[in-house]
Amino acid sequence: MEILELSWLAWIALSVVTCWLLPGRWRPWGIAAFALAFLVYMDPPSALILAAMAAITWWAGTRGGGRRVGVTAVVVLLLGLLAVFKYSASHAGGFVMPLGMSYYTFRCVHYALERYKKGLPPHTVSEFLAYLFFLPTIIAGPIHRFPEFHRDLRRTRLDGSLLSEGFERVLYGYAKILVVSGWLIQSRLQPWIADLGASQPWLSAYLYMLSAGFMGYLTFAGYSDVAIGVARLTGFRVIENFNNPFASRNIVEFWRRWHISLTSWVRDYLYATVFSLTRKPYLAAMAAMLVIGLWHEITSRYVVWGLAHGLAVAACQWYLRRTADRSRPVSRGRAMLGAFTGWFVTFHFVMLSIVFVMHDFDRAMDIYRTLLTGSR
């Protein structure tokens, strides 16, 4: 279902209205039931699988609660299930991924681990289900956290400014997807870039790389805006997903600004764990970036992509630690040159890596060859 289809908009509008009309104690049940009904309408097997995952996660928190082995087994089971579906969906003839499973699994793991660590506020099963089955974020994230969701669920009251913010965010999201990414870049700029290819192959390949990068970013950021906006319309403030990532001056900063809900999850549950076990920050960075790559798709190109970003993050961490020790003052001009160089290198590294995952290997190599040699 495309997000502009009338049926999607109808589901969203109905969910917002239902959410506000229901009395407080029925709201969590209403939120969960509505999202579950949507899943059943869209794809019944997805609804079944996600419901089973919710049951397992709840079991880990109650009967398996307090027992390390029970929670560990559930986390391994959830991540294993995701890996099986991801691997199968990434290869021809495999299973179809259940709707929203990538985001949903990470929410389940977050819940199971935080409940085990006693990091969650007291709550009911209906609030747990409303958290997992929350229509605005169920398909394309963000991977929001339970404590913030629970706070909003308990506090929610009709707030004009929140509704206005939500409406505005939804509009910006659609404008990013349809006007800037779809119309301006895809329908207008890219055919012009293609025409340029005959006379100026290097410039054409370079502009194509930039357009593909911005198109990918704007589409994804637009989806996040729509999700965040609809969540606000229902009275919830969910985590932001992007914060001007292309303004980053190094790759570590980039990963603090790009897909924030995913990177913060990986930082909290993977990077921190690997680091505390090994005391090796570079190994933790490599593991974190590899998992981020595999979370997108279990294919060799995402392994390469993840390792390349892991190496870049580890190199950047090393450089930042080395330069942090220097107390020598730096002139303003030199500082500006350093900032520009950092931005330039980061921006182009990210753009080149996007080209790598957006195309098959041979096509990506064609683009790199043109960028290196200037000829096709």
Binding site: F167, E168, Y174, V179, G182, S187, P191, Y208, A212, H359
Partner: protein, 45 residues
Amino acid sequence: MYGWLQPRVGHRVAVAVTALWYALLIVLVLLFAAEPPADFRYDDL
């Protein structure tokens, strides 16, 4: 947007500008939602 404009230009102007901005965005989105997406990739060069 209203929250940013209101202390700068006053309530009435802020409401008017915000409404116009929303209207423009809605028109643009509806206009381009109807346009079929181009299926262009580097492979087509």
